[in-house]
Subunit: 223 residues, 2 copies
């Protein structure tokens, strides 16, 4: 029987590459996405299309983090920045990765999966505190104290295969695995068809990744 | 200005006592509850009644953990046990406290609250792994690595004032603070009016608490 894994899948280029990597590593994958009040919820359409095409089980969980606000991604009163910022950017969503990993842990425990994959990246990480290795290690320890499985000695592992990759590394890895990046949505303010603005932080990082990788940028831009 | 705190409030006797303690300690309290697919969602009516009467801000977040199942509390195909079990009981909801604390952390970061109160109890804890002090410590460490506030040195603290109390201690503390336990819902299968079954694990622990405290049990039972 295949080992099971829960894959946090936003529908962006990192998490789609992550899913391809986990499949390549032989995991039976269960993809988890969130409708959390994000501006760019069209990313969920991308996520659904990709899991359908691969025959991967996919759950989209509703959890409205815009009830709290505090981020340009969930509060329409805060504009998405169009220039790279110093420090932690306005697009940081408070405790988002902790929340997503916790819910992934809940599903993993029920599935008896012991692997959770998250596409965090500490190189091009834009200053998000919850993308750092020390956060991931602390969460993994917490997960194993929190759960029946952890207590019984059958421990969870949080897999972060992209954590030390540049965006260019991720793109080159994805190309080897046959990922079609035109189908992924990275832009923080993508339109309803999944076309990217081309100017937000996320678009700038993505563009630079294709340039650095020397690959054609197949992103669909609205301008 | 008062210090702010996020209080995880189920509407049961422990969390209602917790709220009374946090108010007594001078915190400006923000109560957080979850409609998570629990059988006994009537507890939310109790929570709302209590926060309204105290003028405390209260958010109820929808997060359907029954999408995953795996617990007698969220899966109607699994009966609620009526005899105390050995080990971790069927009413354990996978990773529930990790999920609830994570979402409390998200709200706390936006509110600029640095205190999060949770009514876990390691004495009468029924074998739940996520009620143990080592879990709480690990979560607190994770919270401070996950967030902007933690990085900037203004650290979060997870408060667990009930952790070493017996149910009787909790009841005596609540009586001193004027808590009306007839308004709280503990039962895992309470009816729509909040009346308790009197036979589930949670009811048995509650009954014993009143006996040990030598107090009149004001719980409303359906039989």
């Amino acid at each position: 029987m295949k080992k099971k894994a829960v894959i946090l899948l936003s529908g962006g280029m990192d998490s789609v590459t992550l899913l391809a990597l986990a499949i390549k590593q032989g995991y039976q994958c269960h993809a988890l996405s969130f409708r959390y009040g994000q501006r760019h919820s069209v990313e969920l359409t991308a996520a659904k299309r990709i899991t359908s095409s691969k025959g991967v089980e996919h759950k989209i969980i509703d959890l409205d983090l815009s009830r709290f606000g505090g981020s340009a991604l969930t509060d329409t009163h805060i504009d998405v920045p169009t220039t790279p910022s110093e420090g932690i950017p306005l697009t940081y969503v408070p405790a988002r990765n902790t929340v997503f990993l916790s819910i992934a842990l809940a599903w993993a425990e029920v599935l008896e999966a012991r692997a959770i994959f998250i596409g965090v990246n500490a190189v091009d990480y834009s200053g998000y505190p919850d993308c750092r290795p020390e956060f991931i290690q602390a969460f993994e320890k917490t997960a194993n104290l929190a759960t029946k499985a952890g207590i019984e000695g059958d421990k969870f592992k949080i897999h972060t295969p992209l954590i030390n990759m540049t965006k260019a590394d991720i793109i080159l890895t994805g190309h080897q695995l046959g990922v079609d990046y035109s189908q992924t949505v990275t832009c923080y303010q993508a339109d309803n068809n999944g076309k990217a603005c081309g100017v937000c932080d996320a678009c700038l990082l993505r563009k630079k990744g294709f340039e650095d990788a020397g690959c054609k940028d197949t992103t669909r831009y609205s301008v």
